[in-house]
């Protein structure tokens, strides 16, 4: 049963006759008997209706009705309906990589606009057309910095997402790089420790703002010190925060990456997401991934093409800047449409709502006995609280009351079992925050 095969038995017969074979089996004659499957024991097919019923039932086994105060780099933001209405157009999502620019200007111009909006957001000069996700984008940025500097020592701040740091380690443990992690002190990057490790062998310092604990920082001084020894600085950023926060470009960053999920992409249990990468223009030829550029056609009209392809694997093969041969075009399109519809003022408004609601939540939580809100560093929409007992137990108890209360830091930071990371987006209402605080108080008492 395969409703997507269109040829009738009659047409199949005509085609076989023209090819000059008896039946379809004859077309597989090159596969010798000893190469045939030992088994292919799969279930019988189902009707569309049965599949819909089964998948709908599975979707209902996931609890998406708890009120989320969980973030960790992935946030429950509102996505205007216009975003999916436009990305659902078959002309966008059933196209392939724009290899033939004359019949792919839609995708190419949209990616050019995406790159432009990412530059607007981060303040950087250039952007690629996207990478897989925030974690793998950070890895690609690290490799790019190693290529640019020709050095092999990497300093990673402990405030960089522990998930990202695990990814960096996986990809490099078999290669000969020196990998140094620096601690977080009072919620912020340790200037002293980074300074101590920086030397003429250092390729790059990797930072994150806001950091995993939610703290915001001005990283200008660290970046200056890195530049002082000829190292580069990568900053991983949270795009929505850039509605208000100092841009990585203003801090002097060389390469900027991040997770673009907050720019109009659903949480989707971890993907597809959007890895973004921006940089100084002088490094564009060392950048991995697709890049769309403006040019003119033979009539002199403005148009867009994949450019600087001499960096890429399909031309350079083993000498390519990366093995990546795809971007996440459709996710980049989602982000481009999101940034266009939310726009210049909307982004600032959205960021302010996140800041205000998180601040309100902080005030309420700090009034609960035994709860200590970490205030040593300012935060954006996520912050760390210290609880009088194990945070994962508190989260489990809160789950029963209908709240995803946050992310227990002990999961990735041994010794921080009593710390909870709480995220509050623009979607959380005052009433939800009030109920959250009230229930947390009950759970702790």
């Amino acid at each position: 049963m395969n409703p997507y095969i269109t040829n009738t038995p009659q047409e199949v017969g005509q085609m076989l006759k023209i090819i000059g074979v008896e039946d379809i089996d004859a077309l597989f004659a090159d596969i010798k008997p000893e190469h045939r499957p030992r088994s292919f024991d799969l279930p019988q097919g189902l009707s569309e209706y049965e599949v819909v019923r089964r998948l709908t039932a599975l979707s209902l086994k996931n609890n998406v009705h708890v009120t989320p105060f969980i973030g960790g780099g992935y946030y429950d933001h509102y996505i205007p309906s216009v975003v999916s209405a436009l990305t659902s157009r078959g002309e966008f999502y059933t196209a392939y990589t724009p290899y033939q620019p004359e019949c792919a200007q839609g995708t190419l111009q949209a990616l050019f606009e995406y790159q432009s909006s990412m530059c607007a957001l981060t303040g950087m000069e250039v952007s690629n057309a996207s990478l897989y996700d925030g974690g793998t984008a950070l890895y690609e940025a690290m490799m790019m910095a190693i290529r640019i500097t020709g050095r092999n020592k990497v300093i990673v701040d402990g405030g960089v997402s522990p998930i990202y740091r695990k990814i960096l380690k996986t990809y490099t443990h078999h290669l000969s790089y020196e990998f140094q992690e620096t601690p977080v002190v009072h919620g912020q990057s340790s200037r002293d420790e980074i300074q101590r490790l920086l030397d003429r062998d250092t390729a790059v310092v990797i930072l994150q703002n806001p950091n995993f604990f939610g703290a915001i920082d001005d990283l200008t001084d660290i970046i200056q010190k890195a530049h002082g020894v000829g190292a580069l600085a990568i900053v991983s950023v949270y795009p929505i925060s850039l509605g208000l926060l100092k841009t990585p470009a203003e801090m002097g960053a060389d390469i900027v990456t991040g997770e673009g999920q907050s720019l109009g992409l659903p949480l989707n249990f971890g993907g597809p997401y959007l890895g973004f990468m921006c940089a100084r223009k002088k490094y564009i030829r060392k950048m991995p991934g697709r890049i769309v550029g403006q040019t003119v056609d033979s009539k002199g009209q403005r148009c867009f093409v994949n450019t600087l392809q001499a960096r890429e694997q399909h031309i350079r093969r083993e000498k390519a800047t990366s093995n990546i041969c795809t971007n996440v075009s459709l996710c980049a399109l989602q982000a481009a449409i999101f940034m266009a519809v939310v726009g210049k003022n909307g982004l600032k408004e959205m960021a302010q709502l996140n800041l205000d609601k998180a601040e309100y939540a902080k005030q309420l939580l700090s009034k609960i006995k035994g709860v200590e809100v970490k205030r040593s560093a300012p935060s954006f929409n996520e912050f760390t609280v210290h609880l009088p007992k194990d945070a994962s137990q508190v989260v489990a108890a809160m789950m029963k009351k209908g709240f995803a209360a946050g992310f227990p830091l002990g999961r990735y930071y041994p010794g921080m079992e009593r710390y909870l990371l709480v995220a509050v987006t623009e979607k959380r209402t005052k009433e939800e925050i009030d109920r959250y605080a009230k229930n947390l108080q009950e759970v702790l008492s």
Partner: protein
């Protein structure tokens, strides 16, 4: 067409967040605040809708055009998988929920899908385990090569230096091997499109870490000597990597795990028709046999005796985290729905008809275009426009001619070892009528190359743009609206 930034009018809004309902107005101290607002567009929702709708209409896509792009498998993407992937029980699920203490109970549906996909893929390919984590085919390749490296390291074998790759391979193969720290050795193909066994034997030694092979190859040919190749590689404890880019040709006809391969990746957009999205997101699950399974990335999805699904991070030999979470879940849902609907027979049908359609086109075009390998092809066929090129009409010119005929061109200039290559993959979802129309246009192109070769330089004439100046794009780098024009990098 104007850019969205050029439609911008100061003060115009596309979206209202509404007033804040909390009695707090916080400030960011100037040290931490951005100096100027991000210069994003200021447009209305209607501006956005018209702009992106009009942009979409400048694309060729499967929904609108025949798209026989070889090696890319541009087959129909069923609509029901789209609507299922958009169920809120999937889209609104936070990935960290599953990592909370007891969190698996809140994510049973998602974990069950990942678990069952693994079972399906194992049975389809003859492997013992799969990870759904790789985020694209090339990411799967890199993961597979890292598993290869972990295997050699665990055996204390530090001699392994080279990965062997045939000349017909996708460029991602050598790039993935290089990123994982290996050098690559290229093996030429023989006149039938198979691997040159003598060249392979000469290249293999104790330093061979493994071999990467696409089966059927990008020449559209099923390698007849798989068993011999596998014996040669395994004799030096090398790992056999199956690039599953073309798995869609052999479902139910051959399983990589049965014929000597140790590891593979699947491109779900090819075999399981998840949408290509204009170039991603992809999804590249990786399968392994028992030899490599201890090294698979974490987390892995397990099923407990009480029927509960859970994430398991407890694998001491694992290579670790290769992605932030559990794979491109939204695409995996689509692949799962497609498999459930097709079932065993339907999946076999996809390969059968993909191969039938490819052979039909090859047979019909054979009198007009030089075929590279005079034998039955699998899901795609490779021609060379060498005859037309002698008349001054190159593969790219034929591609541009087809665009004016409202057909997306086949892949051209790949495989790179074939001069003037034209690679045609119709897929199983296209009808004889659509293919006959395409064949007629290809024959028309051949005739025109005889009668008026100069005409080709003008194509395409009917598109929003004529041929672009790609040299200028690379020389005068303008990759953002905010970069000054004609400022060389």
């Amino acid at each position: 067409m104007e850019l969205i930034f050029e439609r911008s009018v100061a003060g115009r809004k596309g979206f209202c967040f509404g007033p804040s309902d909390v009695p707090v107005h916080a400030h960011i101290s100037p040290n931490y605040a951005r100096q100027q607002e991000a210069p994003l567009p200021e447009v209305s929702e209607l501006d956005v809708v018209r702009h992106y709708t009009r942009l979409s209409q400048k694309n060729f896509s499967i929904d609108t055009h025949f798209y026989p792009l070889g090696s890319c498998t541009m087959k129909y993407n069923p609509k029901f998988t789209e609507s299922l992937a958009r169920l809120s029980g999937f889209t609104d699920l936070h990935p960290l929920l599953a990592q909370l203490s007891g969190g698996e109970q809140w994510t049973q549906g998602a974990l069950q899908i990942l678990y069952e996909l693994e079972q399906w893929m194992c049975e389809m390919t003859g492997f013992s385990h799969f990870t759904m984590q790789p985020l694209a085919g090339a990411h799967g390749e890199l993961t597979g090569i890292m598993l290869m490296a972990a295997y050699h390291k665990a055996r204390g074998n530090s001699k392994k230096k080279y990965v062997i790759i045939p000349d017909s391979a996708h460029g991602t193969n050598p790039a993935s091997a290089a990123v994982a720290g290996y050098e690559t050795i290229t093996i030429p193909s023989n006149k039938d499109g198979g691997m040159d066994l003598e060249a392979l034997k000469a290249a293999v030694n104790e330093e061979t870490a493994g071999l990467m092979m696409t089966v059927p190859s990008t020449y559209g040919v099923f390698e007849p000597n798989i068993s011999e190749i596998s014996t040669i590689i395994h004799a030096v404890d090398g790992i056999m990597y199956y690039d599953g880019a073309n798995l869609n040709a052999v479902l139910g006809r051959c399983r990589p795990g049965d014929v000597g391969f140790d590891v593979m990746h699947i491109n779900t957009h090819k075999t399981f028709t998840t949408p290509h999205g204009g170039g991603g997101p992809g999804s590249g699950p990786v399968g392994v046999n028992e030899k490599l399974s201890p090294f698979l990335p974490i987390s892995r999805v397990v099923k407990h005796s009480d029927g509960m699904y859970a994430l398991d991070y407890n694998y001491a030999k694992s290579i670790g985290y290769i992605a932030s979470f559990y794979g491109n879940f939204g695409l995996l849902v689509r692949a799962y729905a497609y498999m459930l609907m097709l079932g065993k027979e339907g999946l076999i049908d996809t390969s059968d008809h993909a191969v039938l359609n490819a052979n039909y086109i090859m047979k019909k075009l054979e009198p007009y275009y030089k075929i590279c390998f005079d034998r039955i092809c699998m899901h795609e066929s490779v021609f060379s426009a060498s005859k037309q090129a002698q008349r001054g009409v190159h593969a790219i010119d034929i591609a541009k001619f087809l665009i004016d005929q409202q057909i997306h061109p086949p892949t051209v200039y790949f495989p790179i070892s074939v001069p003037e290559a034209i690679m045609i993959e119709p897929t199983e979802t296209e009808s004889k009528k659509t293919m006959d129309d395409f064949i007629a246009k290809m024959i028309e192109a051949d005739e025109l190359s005889i009668n008026d070769p100069a005409a080709f330089k003008e194509f395409p004439k009917t598109m929003p743009i004529a041929r672009p100046d790609e040299v200028k794009a690379a020389r005068d780098v303008k990759t953002s609206f905010f970069l000054p024009t004609s400022d060389a990098a």
